[in-house]
Every structure is written in structure tokens, then in C-alpha cells.
Symmetry: C2
Subunit: 253 residues, 2 copies
């Protein structure tokens, strides 16, 4: 069975709000094309206009900012089902770069189509907003991570998060999932040096919490890893109870 390009995104949005068949059809029809990228290709850079929004179909990508002297901070990962990105309201020019970290397929949705859909469907509008706010919550947690956690906690936390996110989209096989990151990319994510990333990884392995062979991460003791990470998955808002829907009787204003 071949999945429609927007299928995974729809599934994610329905985490928050049940969409009408109209909404779903419209989303499916909004996709104008598919594009495949290789590893380490720039998808969106500072100077592009932004006529399209991309839905990640498969693969792995990231958003990063670079300082003048070359220091680099990865500020977000994109996994299948993620929108990348709804910044169509903003800016003359983007203030950062989006690039793949593995071969990645995306579906294009013209910005104008999406805007029109949002005007037409309050439900879809809210679902997209929800997804944006979850992204923001994740970004805040990354700030806490880099600001307050030690190297070991920090790395453990990132792995817990990615485990939860991949699990939510059904891409965890048992205790293993693909996390196609080099140690130097991990370093740019966690704000540590590559050398220290290497040693921290070794420590996590030594404690029997996980193993990382090539691009596959296997978690041997999730509970222990979460304990090390001081991980509280609340910020991922996967338990969203479909609140605040139009006409939802549970909500009183």
C-alpha cells in the first residue's frame, strides 16, 4: 500500500484535532510535488524566498544557525511527518539554514495553498498552530538541556526525546531506531566538543544504557536512561487531549 504524501502529517495533526474528510482531502491535494535530497544538502537557506512549505516524508533533517566565525548550533531536528517549515508569515529572509542529515524525501505544499486552507478551515488552522506550538516547546526544552544539564544528562535527554518522537510515528523497531548523526553533528546539537561527545557516548555505553552502531541507536534500558536524563516527556505534548475544538462541550469559556 502506498501512502499519500500528507498521510503522516495528517496523523500527527489528528493527535490534536480530528480533521474533517474535506480537510484531509485538501491537504492531500495541496501537495504539488515530491523531492528527494541526499545527505548534507541544504533545503532552505538564508536568501531564499519561501514559496513552499515542505512535509518531511522520510529521512532526517535539521535547522541550524551559524555564527560569523563558524560556530554552529543545530536548533531542531525534523523527522517524518514534520512540517518544515511554516515560516511563511515571516521575514524577508530566513535567519537560519535547513539541511538534510540523511537522504530525505519531502512533499512540497505551496504556501498560498496552505494559507488558503487555513483561512477556510478553523480546525486545520488550529491543528497547524498546535503543531507549531509543540515545536516551540521542544525548542525551549533544548534550551533547558544545553543550559542546565551536564554532558551526560544532555545526551541522554536528546536520545530519550528522539526515541519518543520516533516511537510516536512508528519508526522504532523494538528498542532500536535510526538516528543518522555523526558525533560532530551531535556536538553541534548538544553544544559540546566532538571529543567530549565521544567520551560521553562511551560512558553511556559503559553504563549499559544504549549502544550506537553507525546510524542505529539501540536503547537497552529506557527507564535508566530517562532517569539519567531527568526526562519528563510532558513538553512533547503527545497526550494532547483534543481540547478547544469548535463546539467541543468540554470547553467552556
Amino acid at each position: 500500500m502506498i501512502e499519500l504524501p500528507a498521510a503522516r502529517l495528517i496523523r500527527k495533526l489528528e493527535n490534536f484535532a480530528e480533521l474533517s474528510d474535506d480537510d484531509k482531502d485538501a491537504l492531500h491535494n495541496a501537495v504539488t510535488g515530491i523531492r528527494a535530497y541526499g545527505t548534507h544538502e541544504v533545503m532552505v537557506c538564508g536568501t531564499d524566498p519561501l514559496p513552499v512549505v515542505d512535509i518531511i516524508l522520510s529521512g532526517f533533517a535539521c535547522r541550524f544557525k551559524t555564527l560569523a566565525d563558524g560556530r554552529r548550533q543545530i536548533v531542531a531536528y525534523f523527522i517524518p511527518g514534520d512540517l518544515c517549515d511554516i515560516r511563511i508569515f515571516l521575514l524577508r529572509r530566513m535567519d537560519h539554514t535547513i539541511a538534510t542529515l540523511a537522504p530525505t524525501k519531502v512533499a512540497h505544499v505551496p504556501a498560498g495553498t496552505l494559507l488558503a486552507l487555513m483561512d477556510r478551515s478553523a480546525r486545520l488552522n488550529r491543528a497547524l498552530w498546535w503543531s507549531t506550538l509543540v515545536d516551540e516547546a521542544v525548542s525551549r526544552e533544548w534550551l533547558v538541556n544545553v543550559g542546565q544539564r551536564t554532558a551526560l544528562e544532555r545526551m541522554a535527554h536528546l536520545f530519550c526525546e528522539m526515541y519518543a518522537r520516533f516511537k510516536a510515528i512508528g519508526l522504532v523497531a523494538g528498542t532500536r531506531f535510526e538516528l543518522p548523526l555523526t558525533q560532530s553533528e551531535l556536538a553541534d546539537t548538544l553544544a559540546l566538543s566532538t571529543v567530549h561527545i565521544n567520551r560521553t557516548l562511551q560512558e553511556l555505553r559503559r553504563q549499559q544504557l544504549l549502544s550506537m552502531n553507525g546510524k542505529v541507536l539501540e536503547i537497552h534500558d529506557l527507564a535508566a536512561l530517562q532517569a539519567v536524563a531527568v526526562f519528563d516527556p510532558a513538553y512533547l505534548h503527545v497526550d494532547a487531549q483534543r481540547r478547544y475544538l469548535p463546539g467541543d462541550s468540554r470547553v467552556k469559556f
Copy 2:
């Protein structure tokens, strides 16, 4: 002349999209009440439901997350005109706390009213979205700040940002503005110890870049401070060119 509560917010939103008189009236009328907080009062905490959205009228507040063992990271500041916060779509419970850092007045807008307004006005919807995306951009820059910049750069960068933000709302008098932060709050913001905050501040003073007496920050050499900070104000998106408006001829899809 007494300003209507929503005036500053409207001015900010119009940075992005000119609102209709209807939109503005509706926003003004949406305010159901004003509330004044003292210093260090919790405005929103983890367990509240979220029936209202607050517009900051005056004062200074912040959003922070606390780890189980007490470590704290401030992840955002709120200044007059900011919405705090549009998380009405999310969560059963908030994953963080919002508290004042100085005496602060806010205007309440019922969540339901705001949702209804967004359904009714595509322009307002987009303007609010724009403001949310700018908040997200700021949050990303804070991540870069904590992740990649040294203590000196980091502090300089925060001051540059706050200068720009206060300037944008007309709250900078010459080269001075109120920044009611203790060194320990600065520490929780910049992910440094209070001791190191103190020494870093001294270094900035020694270099004649600024002075901070009590709650007032005075910037003596903005260009030099920005140079130290590797500050690029692009992420604040204050130059938003009012793109992507419905019927805006400059935009082609």
C-alpha cells in the same frame, strides 16, 4: 491620554500586517479585565487551565522551566506588548511557569474570544501567527547564545537583544532602559553561575561598554557591544515587510 490596553499589542502586530479597524476594535473589546502583579509572582503555573491569554501592559515577566533538582532555566522574557501566551491550543497542563520579575500589569483576553476572532479575521490570525513565530525565532537565538557563545558574548548579546526590543516599543530613553533583573536571574537566563555573572558584568563595565545601576541598564557603546556579542538583529524580524497579506500584489504563488 490613556491608552487602550491592547494598543501596544496592536502596534506590534501591525509591524507585520495592517489590521482593519474592525480587528482593532474587536481586540480592544476582547479585553475583559486588568490585573496587577507584584515582583516575583507566579502568573501561570503548571497546573492551571488556560482560559485566558494575557497581554503585558507594563512591567517585566519571564517564562522558565525547573528541573527536579531545582536547576532553573529562564527561556523567555516578556515585555510590554507581548502576548503571554497563546498556548491555548495545547496541553492539559503547561510544562513550565510564567512569573513576574518586576511589578507588572496585564490585560486578560478570554481564550474563546481570541479563538473566535482568529476564525473571523484571517489578517488577525496571521498577525498572531507572525508574532508567535518571532517568539520562536528569539527562543532559537537564545539556544545559540547559550550553546555557542562565551560568557562575555552571551551577556552582551542578551543586552543587545533587550535593547532592541525595548527600543522597538519606545521604552528606551536615550541610551538607558529599565532591565529589572538580579544577577541571579541573569544567571538563570544565561546558564552561568551568579559569581561568573558578576565578573562578566564587571568586564563589560571595565571595557566601558555599559553600566548597570540597580535596575537600569545604560549602554555606552552600542556598536562595540554588538561587536562583542556577534549580534545580528535579523532574528528579531522587526523589519517584517508585511508580506503574504491576502491580496497583496507583491506576493505571487
